[in-house]
């Protein structure tokens, strides 16, 4: 049990009802579990469990909970579907505001939008949207994430982005409980004019509170948003083929899925621009070959057996090092034929080709592109994950990004001091976004069970930030939390602006800002300019790795 005094628990219970509050250890521990690598550690329970989990059922109850937190000066953090506990509470003794009772979902087909609450999942949203010949954006985490969370509080990038943009731009009007407990509606809903825009006629400061990266729980609680939906030419219910978990989606009528391949990223980039300009291809996604292999297999053992015996299909090997999984979408046979003709012409002009894939592989790739369902299989490769810089910028940068990744990986593949995943160490996931943009992030699989591996991965991730700082490659995201003060000064000072916003809206610093920004820069960030010169100098690297090894090895990982 937490040390929360009974009268405070009673105060929460008065707002949400006694069944919706718990300070039991077994309940709060679930909000302390490190599911993914937001907080790299050799531990799974981080030792900073919230003091209580509170489950409000309405915006008014959220505001009530936040006011109780303010009354007793308790930090709090919103929790929607809690995918990976990625943005879990960062401070021991906080209140985790679990929004699982808020599942509102309303489709407005005329306006091609939906109005959703935090616990509506992308899988639910897309299923309901399909019934209206619409679809939503689904981020890489897959159908079980919260679109509201990704739209308000994170970057919101995802596989289908070429057709469905990114959730940071898909967010329309929103309802917000400020860090002090005031309910504010931003955009059209602020004037009771519907949910169709995040800017006026009501208050229009959507950009300020979400920015490019998102509020990451550091700016109160978002309780309802309007979100854009996009045209969908497929059926009202997706058809599935194959046995679980090899289920795939046969391309619907007038859809086609291909794995495309080029000899080099220069040609591939040229083709990408042509695909974008022609609009012949709706969905464009790149999974690294090892990730494709994991999508196609049900267990690690199955993948490994195929890998070591050389029996992986080509699309899961380096034969597919330079390429895209694409799906075309058309409303008519004529449009389908036009898409095919244009795509074939683009391939001919850029030395590209369609790789041979079986029906099963095609269906699984289609499911991955249309629903993002199998991206999460990447988590099987290791047991924790880190993310490199993350770049959202012009397609023209693709060749340079891949080259940079390989440079950043450097010697970690083979030499002493590090051991990254032996297969396809370059793990650039890429997908296109609207306009001329693409997104990439490099997710090196890593494990707590092999200290040298996690050290190598952390080394790589930091190296990627440093190289991006020296020679910026587009807008680098994931510069948040503690990293914002380390890397912000060389990347346009987002940390300064984030801090101004934070301190303006949360003067008591109660909305847990571990993953957004702290009210004041940490002392370490002041030492960082010197420290990085030492630790990332070729002579300093071994020392740095030793420090990391000691840190990650101290918990005696199994």
């Amino acid at each position: 049990m937490s040390n929360l005094p009974p009268h405070i628990l009673k105060a929460f219970e008065a707002v949400v009802g006694p069944d919706n509050v718990s300070d039991e250890d077994f309940v709060v521990n679930c909000h302390d579990w490190m599911g993914l690598g937001a907080d790299p550690s050799t531990r799974t329970l981080l030792g900073k469990a919230p003091a209580a989990v509170v489950m409000p059922g309405s915006t008014e109850e959220v505001a009530g909970v936040v006011k109780v937190c303010n009354q007793y000066k308790l930090k709090f953090k919103a929790h929607s579907t809690g995918y990976g506990n990625y943005s879990g509470v960062g401070t021991k003794g906080s209140i985790s505001i679990d929004l699982c009772r808020m599942k509102g979902l309303e489709i407005d087909p005329e306006s091609r939008m939906a109005i959703i609450q935090p616990y509506t999942t992308a899988g639910e949203l897309v299923s309901e949207a399909h019934k209206h010949q619409l679809m939503c954006h689904i981020i890489g985490a897959g159908p079980i994430h919260s679109p509201l969370a990704s739209a308000t509080s994170f970057v919101g990038v995802g596989v289908a982005g070429n057709h469905t943009s990114i959730n940071s731009r898909n967010m329309l009007s929103l309802e917000w409980v400020t860090p002090e407990g005031e309910i504010v509606r931003i955009g059209s809903s602020g004037s009771d004019a519907g949910w169709f825009t995040g800017e006026g006629p009501g208050p229009g400061f959507r950009g300020m509170i979400r920015g490019l990266y998102g509020a990451a729980g550091g700016l109160g609680v978002f309780t309802k948003i309007g979100i854009k939906l996009y045209p969908w030419a497929g059926p009202k219910t997706l058809e599935w083929s194959g046995p679980h978990p090899y289920r795939g989606t046969p391309p619907p009528e007038n859809f086609a899925t291909y794995q495309l391949d080029w000899d080099n990223w220069e040609d591939a980039t040229k083709a990408t621009q042509m695909m974008k300009n022609s609009k012949a291809v709706a969905f464009i996604n790149r999974m690294p070959p090892a990730a494709v292999g994991h999508c196609l297999t049900a267990t690690n053992r199955e993948y490994y057996d195929l890998q070591r015996t050389g029996k992986l299909p080509d699309i899961a090997t380096k034969a597919n090092a330079v390429g895209w999984s694409v799906t075309t979408m058309a409303w008519t046979k004529a449009q389908f034929d036009w898409n095919e003709a244009v795509l074939n012409k683009i391939l001919a002009e850029t030395n590209g080709r369609k790789m041979d894939i079986s029906e099963r592989e095609r269906d699984i790739l289609t499911a991955a592109v249309l629903t993002s369902h199998y991206v999460a299989r990447f988590n099987r490769m290791g047991d924790c994950a880190g993310v490199s810089m993350g770049v959202l910028d012009s397609i023209n940068l693709i060749p340079e990004v891949v080259k940079r990744t390989n440079d950043d990986i450097g010697d970690k593949e083979t030499k002493a001091g590090g051991k990254m995943m032996e297969v396809d160490t370059e793990q650039n996931w890429m997908w296109l976004s609207e306009g001329r943009h693409f997104w990439t992030e490099n997710n090196p699989a890593s494990t707590r069970s092999f200290v040298k591996n996690i050290v190598a991965c952390v080394d790589f991730i930091l190296s990627s930030f440093i190289s991006n700082e020296k020679k910026p490659l587009g807008a680098a995201l994931f510069v948040h939390g503690e990293a914002s003060d380390l890397f912000g000064p060389k990347l346009g000072h987002p940390n300064k602006w984030m801090r101004k916003v934070k301190n303006t809206w949360d003067p008591n610093n109660l909305s847990d800002s571990k993953h957004f920004i702290q009210p004041e820069a940490a002392k370490e960030s002041k030492a960082w300019p010197i420290a990085k010169k030492i630790f990332f100098h070729p002579w300093g690297k071994p020392i740095f790795r030793k420090i990391l090894t000691k840190e990650f090895g101290k918990d005696d990982p199994k």
Binding site: S22, E24, D25, F26, V27, N29, C30, H31, G35, L36, T44, L45, M55, G82, Y83, N85, D98, C100, R101, K103, T120, G123, E124, L125, S127, E128, A141, G142, P143, I144, L238, P243, H244, P245, A298, T299, N300, R301, E302, Y303, Y304, D305, Q307, H373, A376, N379, R380, M381, D383, K419, M420, M421, A445, S446, T447, R448, S449, F450, N453, K558
Partner: protein, 428 residues
């Protein structure tokens, strides 16, 4: 196997929450897959949450508070979490196996709700969670069924505790006997020597009780020289296929079939036929014990090793269960043979079926949980226009029928053989 052996798998849980949701739902209304989480709402009651609790308990970071014990045992062990987890994580996590070990540890530590521990005591003493041993075969009085303890039989029936002691279910049992006789099947029962399969004791966590019950039954089956073990209860069927291998009990001398499978065989062989039945729209509910939990379990005693610097793989190949090989088709084929029967499918079917919440002592210990899950299924049946919701499990049928009565649902709940009662005829 112990909780310690599950540490690797527990640490692989990335808290993605797939264990709570159907693999690509068809609607928001019926997107949940976990009856426990659906109702209690705290993550702790989901499979992922139970894995975290097990981890904390094993590492002495948390204690077994009464609420934690309730959270663990208010779960019907339907196995949906495991099937869903494998959508992404293969055999890395397998939360169901961890939950089994968690329960075994809690049982060893005396941390089991009293209602359940009393059921297990009764199992130990009387071979059933309720009722007296010498009353187990009262249902069969006057039916002139061969005594498999004294005579050899081709087919040995296992009745199951639920139906053997519930007078409401006796007509169904007598109907099954009538059908077997009509089809001239050489069958028998073990009368009062039949015990519970041991599945219930195993799932609650009492391994030694489960072991004893399973061994007794396995010995009896072997002595009977039967070629077929015919399970009437879905729970026993699941235990024979999925729990016995975990207990290293072999039933290899017999084929294990559920009545739905066996009667489908008899129909295919022309030994029975089905006539007309005007029922209105019928939806079939895939009971977890007949479905994903009846998939044959193959023991594996290997270890996970690291390869390619990061990946955990099993050191030897193993058969992984995905819930695909449950008994899904036979009940549907049986129903489809009835002229005039209008079948509709629920949104959540086969390995993606939503559990009615009645099993593993949940109905007895947490009746509101069992009712809530059943009400959800009734709503699902209503949403597809079903007038009748059919189950091949008498336990599910009883739970859902009681729920339908409580909520005055427009959906009638029927046991599959009850539905077919006046439709099945002798001969082709």
């Amino acid at each position: 196997m112990s909780l310690e052996d599950r540490i690797h798998n527990m640490e692989q849980c990335n808290r993605c929450s797939q264990c709570k949701f159907v693999h690509m739902p068809k609607s928001q209304e019926f997107s949940s897959i976990c009856p426990s989480k659906y109702q209690s709402r705290f993550h702790a009651s989901s499979a992922g949450g139970q894995v975290i609790s097990a981890y904390g308990y094993h590492n002495k970071l948390i204690e077994a508070s009464p609420k934690m014990i309730d959270s663990v045992f208010a779960c019907s062990m339907c196995g949906a979490c495991e099937t869903m987890c494998k959508s992404h994580m293969g055999d890395n996590v397998e939360p169901f196996d961890t939950i089994l070990e968690f329960r075994a540890q809690l049982a060893e530590d005396g941390k089991v709700p009293e209602t359940l521990s009393n059921m297990v005591k009764h199992l130990e003493q009387e071979g059933a969670p309720h009722g007296k041993r010498d009353e187990r075969s009262r249902w069969a009085e006057g039916l002139d069924i061969k005594d498999a303890r004294k005579e050899t039989v081709d087919v040995l029936l296992h009745i199951g505790s639920g139906q053997a002691y519930s007078e409401k279910q006796w007509d169904n049992l007598r109907f099954i006997v009538k059908l077997l006789k009509s089809a001239k099947v050489d069958f028998g029962i073990a009368y009062d020597s039949e015990s519970d399969s041991g599945g219930l004791a195993y799932e609650i966590g009492y391994r030694s009780v489960a072991d004893k019950l399973a061994q007794e039954w396995a010995d009896l089956v072997q002595k009977s020289q039967a070629k077929t073990l015919l399970a009437i209860s879905a729970e026993a069927y699941s235990a024979f296929k999925n729990v016995y291998p975990r207990l290293n009990k072999t039933l290899s001398s017999v084929r294990v079939l559920h009545t739905t499978e066996y009667f489908e065989e008899l129909l295919q062989q022309g030994k029975l036929s089905l006539g007309m039945k005007n029922t209105g729209k019928v939806a079939y509910h895939d009971s977890c014990r007949l479905g994903r939990r009846s998939e044959e379990y193959t023991p594996w005693n290997g270890e996970y090793i690291r390869v390619l610097n990061t990946m955990a793989v099993t050191d030897t190949p193993r058969k992984v269960n995905y819930g695909n090989d449950g008994n899904y088709d036979a009940p549907r084929q049986l129903l489809s043979r009835v002229d005039g029967l209008d079948m509709v499918e629920l949104e959540r079917t086969r390995q993606y079926s939503f559990c009615c919440g009645g099993c593993t002592g949940v109905k007895e210990t947490y009746p509101e949980m069992a009712d809530g899950a059943a009400q959800e299924l009734l709503r699902e049946a209503e949403s597809v226009g079903a007038e009748v919701l059919v189950s091949g499990s008498s336990c599910c049928q009883a739970n859902m029928a009681a729920a339908a009565k409580r909520s005055n649902s427009s959906v009638k709940v029927a046991y599959l053989f009850d539905l077919l009662a006046d439709s099945i005829q002798e001969g082709a």
